[in-house]
């Protein structure tokens, strides 16, 4: 089937070449980082995780959101989604790959990454994260491939795929839960030390992932002869609506607990993010932009008139995606490190090479996504022809 990804229009090849160029530049920067050390990034002794880990966290959410297609189709027999579950699964494959790459580039000694397997340490959440992420990647590649191939050949997928599909449903929840546990089990990091972190991650995941999928569906309809379907997009839109409302609700729960209890260790991080602390506040405009985008998207999504208008819907989806990206991909990680456990305010801003490496990984993700989508859509086009 992979050959389908090799045959394409000039535009397709142009896009892939552009992505390869970005990957090349990113890889060049990574080689620099490899020889110099992580000192080329903006990270510091006090903010020891930065952009890479934040992107990783955000993308775990996008990956987990595939379950929002798989679950209604396989558990609720919602037939309409049968047409597009493959898109969700392939989006998950691309996202998890990016997650793993972000972890690798964040390691100080990537050559020793296998130590995690050579000296398995079940008390470390990172050990479990490695297992669930790789497992999820494997599940989605196998399931996506088998189902698509069966569809192409006009037969039912092999029986052994079914149990894997059922396993993939709780597994999707697990990847984001375990990722949240990385943070929320650490004493002395008041911002993350909240039982609602995993649910909050899942809520934002089920908003960001499907909103991105809607945008992809609209794009696919425009660029190819395959129509993901109006009903499908509208159902996804409802999922996004619930997701983003839950996300904002959970955020408000945090705000209440933190500002009503007024425990400084918890409150100061929120203050830093939303109003600034001791005169520091690079993220303040970003965080309010995030809030504005999420609120705007809720207004557009809740109203059926605006939600069913696909042009407005796409704007709402962009708002959701960037709103949650700022929330998780910028604020969530830095916010937990500032102020430091000794209550120093040392800020973090990513450097240019760090951003270039990040873009390189995103380009890798998009390359995989494009190739996989091309494959899936070519099969769909073949069948309808």
């Amino acid at each position: 089937m992979l050959e389908l990804a090799l045959k394409g229009s000039k535009k397709y090849y142009g896009w892939m070449t552009a992505l390869l160029a970005v990957i090349g530049v990113g890889f060049g920067c990574y080689l620099w980082q490899l020889s110099f050390g992580l000192g080329i990034t903006g990270m510091s002794r006090d903010v020891s995780w930065g952009f890479y880990i934040a992107q990783f966290t955000f993308l775990v959410g996008v990956a987990a959101s595939a379950v929002m297609l798989v679950l209604p189709y396989y558990l609720h027999n919602y037939k309409a989604f049968g047409k597009i579950t493959i898109l969700g699964e392939f989006l998950a494959v691309a996202s998890v790959t990016m997650c793993l790459l972000f972890i690798i580039v964040d390691l100080g000694q990537p050559m020793r990454a296998f130590n995690v397997i050579l000296y398995p340490t079940p008390n470390s959440i990172l050990f479990w994260d490695m297992i669930v992420l790789n497992g999820y990647l494997f599940l989605n590649i196998v399931i996506g491939w088998q189902v698509l191939e069966a569809e192409r050949n006009g037969v039912a997928p092999p029986a052994w795929v079914k149990p894997l599909i059922y396993i993939s449903i709780p597994w999707a929840v697990s990847i984001h839960t375990v990722t949240a546990f990385l943070y929320c089990g650490l004493p002395g990091r008041g911002f993350w030390l909240t039982a609602i972190l995993a649910p909050r991650f899942l809520a934002s995941a089920f908003a960001a992932g499907p909103s991105f999928l809607i945008l992809l569906c609209l794009l696919v309809r425009k660029l190819t002869r395959f129509d993901p379907g109006k009903e499908q997009i509208q159902t996804l839109a409802k999922i996004v609506t619930y997701g983003i409302i839950l996300n904002v609700f959970f955020l408000l729960c945090e705000v209440f607990v933190v500002f009503y209890s007024k425990i400084p260790e918890h409150m100061d991080h929120m203050k830093y993010l939303y109003v600034g602390l001791h005169g520091h506040g690079v993220l303040v405009p970003w965080m309010w932009t995030s809030v504005a985008l999420m609120v705007l998207s809720i207004i557009l999504l809740v109203n059926p008139v605006t939600r069913t208008n696909e042009a407005v819907l796409s704007i709402a989806c962009i708002c959701v995606f960037f709103g949650t990206w700022i929330d998780k991909g910028l604020g969530m990680i830095s916010g937990g490190f500032v102020p430091s456990p000794l209550h120093h305010v040392i800020e973090y801003v990513p450097t240019i090479p760090e951003i270039v490496i990040t873009l390189g990984i995103y380009a890798t993700g998009f390359l995989i996504l494009t190739a996989l989508f091309k494959m899936a859509i070519s099969v769909k086009e073949e069948l309808s022809a």
């Binding site: 050390g37 510091s44 002794r45 020891s48 100080g108 990537p110 340490t121 470390s124 002395g188």
Partner: protein
């Protein structure tokens, strides 16, 4: 015994992974060469031992930054700790902080003048239930039987999970090769390489030679070091006769550094 157990674990681990059998053969060879007596490993004679090492810092005897300087200097010098201009890359094993940063949970607007100005020595707390040990995915940070939280730099993958886990900011990361930034190298102790985390090791290497930690020696009596589980030890005597505080006890990590204030 020790050796055969390790060999067994190696075999189990390696065959479980289905890796090449070569390292296993080598491991056998170490114990079986020449048909002579097996080689053994022992602890050093005269090494200082304890059930649980702990430290008492008498802040009454360390009044100013000038008093702390030689202590910090002694530690950083023997452990080849580099000095970076760039604050972001800073590496610290033991350093000074104000009261409000050392004990942020004991914030007091009307703190007495002495404590307000007093510099505090902070270092790894070698916690009883250390969050960094729990977080490390490779056991590169581990707890020794004598309570010391030790690091195996050979194994550290530089994920910095331990840095996020430590509630005392006691850990530093080598953001770049530290060697060019070490003023005077102590040839007896290794440096570190880029990409690994490091921190205070309670001078394990000195304890093994029967010596007290460098900071203790340099403090001229202001820092006591001993076995917390031995009622006759110097630290226990000091704890019995003085009121002491520890950092962030509410977190339940069980720090082994006590401060007489």
């Amino acid at each position: 015994m020790e050796n055969s157990r390790r060999t067994f674990l190696k075999i189990a681990g390696i065959s479980a992974l289905g890796l090449s059998a070569k390292p296993v053969l080598n491991a056998f060879a170490v114990s079986e060469h020449g048909g002579k007596k097996e080689a053994q490993v022992l602890t050093k004679k005269g090494a200082l031992a304890a059930k649980r090492w702990a430290m008492v810092i008498d802040t009454r005897k360390l009044e100013s930054a000038k008093d702390l300087e030689p202590v910090i200097e002694a530690c950083h010098k023997i452990h080849n700790v580099p000095v970076f201009e760039n604050k972001r890359h800073e590496i610290k094993w033991i350093w000074e902080e104000e009261f409000k940063h050392t004990f942020p949970d004991l914030e007091n607007e009307y703190l007495n003048d002495r404590l307000k100005k007093l510099p505090f020595l902070v270092l790894c707390n070698h916690c009883t239930d250390a969050p960094c040990v729990r977080a490390c995915p490779t056991k590169a940070t581990f707890k020794q039987e004598d309570g010391i939280v030790e690091m195996d730099f050979h194994r550290c993958i530089g994920c910095r999970f331990c840095m996020a886990a430590c509630p005392y900011g006691s850990r530093s990361f080598n953001f770049r090769d530290p060697r060019p930034f070490i003023k005077e190298t102590n040839k007896k102790f290794p440096t570190r390489m880029k990409g690994v985390v490091e921190k205070c090791n309670f001078c394990t290497e000195l304890l093994a030679e029967g010596k007290m930690p460098a900071c203790v020696e340099a403090s001229t009596g202001a820092i006591a070091f001993g076995d917390l589980e031995n009622p006759e030890s110097e630290v226990r005597k000091l704890l019995k006769s003085n009121y002491t505080i520890r950092r962030k006890v509410a977190l339940g990590t069980g720090p082994a550094i006590y401060y007489i204030v």
